[in-house]
Point group: C2
Chain length 356, copies 2
Amino acid sequence: MTPDAIREGVVQGTGGVQRRAMAKAITLLESTRADHRAQADGLLTALLPHTGQAFRLGISGVPGVGKSTFIEALGLYLIGLGHRVAVLTIDPSSTVSGGSILGDKTRMEHLSVHEKAYIRPSPSSGTLGGVAEKTREAMLVCEAAGYDVVIVETVGVGQSEIAVAGMTDMFVLMQLPNAGDDLQAIKKGVMEIADLVVINKADLDKHAATRAEAQITSSLRLLSQHGNPEHAHHDDRLWHPKVVQISALHAQGVDGFWAAVSEFRRLQTANGRLASRRQQQALAWMWERIDAGLKQAFRQHPAVRALLPQLQQDVAAGRVAASTAARNLLAAQQDQAQAAIESIANQPAPAPSPAA
Amino acid sequence: MTPDAIREGVVQGTGGVQRRAMAKAITLLESTRADHRAQADGLLTALLPHTGQAFRLGISGVPGVGKSTFIEALGLYLIGLGHRVAVLTIDPSSTVSGGSILGDKTRMEHLSVHEKAYIRPSPSSGTLGGVAEKTREAMLVCEAAGYDVVIVETVGVGQSEIAVAGMTDMFVLMQLPNAGDDLQAIKKGVMEIADLVVINKADLDKHAATRAEAQITSSLRLLSQHGNPEHAHHDDRLWHPKVVQISALHAQGVDGFWAAVSEFRRLQTANGRLASRRQQQALAWMWERIDAGLKQAFRQHPAVRALLPQLQQDVAAGRVAASTAARNLLAAQQDQAQAAIESIANQPAPAPSPAA
């Protein structure tokens, strides 16, 4: 299947034809072969004009909080409203161990077999940055295929939450009504980036859920006041992070949740923040990939590989200052390229061939 | 003054001779001239065998918490015990605006004129990473000069606290007995790296100070339990972060503070963590400087500078995927060097000169 045929299948196909084209597109985008990568970049650029219409919803929470149950209920509710729903996953555990905290798509029994849903598990190898990149690209494929709600799910361990918040329009944090859980979220810097906090299993202990709601509401207010002075006073044009209670197991509160999401989307579109957030995310993503590429090229450079082991020992043992070692390694990488460039510049013009 | 003479003055000089050599050493280390930098690296390597004997104490807190008053009281107390005390400062405000939240050394009226104290204000230009590097190097100069307690001070705004914690043996967070301040510290990730929390101005409202102590003690316990399972149970060989109350203005609690610091130092030396923390810090410092150098070289590369403005616009406008733009820019930087290297490799051997 050529990249052109894949693009056509994704954008214009339906049913099984479209699904197969999407799978081929995502497989091509995940390939690490250099020739595939060039094709993949071409495909991505061709798909871009068909993307950007979906609402991108990030959902995070610790294992056991009930993400799958909630996303299944939410997805079926949205399909009932006429939406097409894609669910993508970033599972940091799968990148480390090959195992997965989030499991596979069988977690969402009804949603996974629905023709209006597309569920894709986490890429299972590479760094978190690499996995996030593959997920972002898969998101674009889903958008080009006309899925108008894309949910990106992750677990509340590690840096993956920051990555998900960095690729979605709205970041939702799911919490249990347990004392101290909010402190963990604050510590990890996740509470302050949450646009909405969902307290799940509110039916089990209504009293605890209401106490948790009050506590989290107070934390959100304190965090936004200090972090962002413009949030200090209530302004109807701005979104103020809020808390809702649900019971995913009994599909209770899904409508209230979606009403909050819709209000967020309306405000953020009207005040221009949805567009500016996407711009910032795209530029931040570009620089994140550049940083990763620079580090990789540095570590693979022959001069660096030759010097690094001994210098690391010297630095750890206190024989060489860290800053001196860094300068030496950077110079070693740059000198070799620089020497090559200068050598060309100084090359004498080819000797004229002896007169014929 | 040659680098050799500077080294000798720092290590063996006394009084004014030593102070002048220290000033020259730090000036040389702060110079951005390439020839100075080579001399500076030589000096640093020559000083290194004379460093590492001091205890490195980081102190942080928001403006108004009473850092200067406390450090003056502490410094004079330590000199009374026979120590020599150096105070270095990282002020993120001075790097941005040229202005300084922390002000100059006149803040510590008595300590600054004491012959057994050495006070150096924050480097006032460059990125935070650059300022932190200069401060680390100045710290090594102070150690080589025999100062056996080095205090590195910073304000509780921005990333400078993480930088100070990354260059000291013990990180102390100063707090006021105000409700909500601890939440700010948790949010910034500073509470979880604090080895000791000091509540200052405890004399003003003993009740509030005691309430703050209980609150912070509880936060520290929650944070360390979740972050580091080995801290979950009390172990006498390990340090458990604690809280002390002081009144810097009345020099109350300084002895209790120093007793806690001494206990920390004793434990961390015995269990090997002081040494391993320094090793990790040195390696992290090296990689931090390498990252900064790679980014700088990338942004200054002619091919990157030629492509970047248009690509940034394309990415922000959604015409080019961020990952595609990143790959193009990385390839542009690497291709030029690679092409130069290959061009040399493929160069035909010089044409033999025409027969004479």
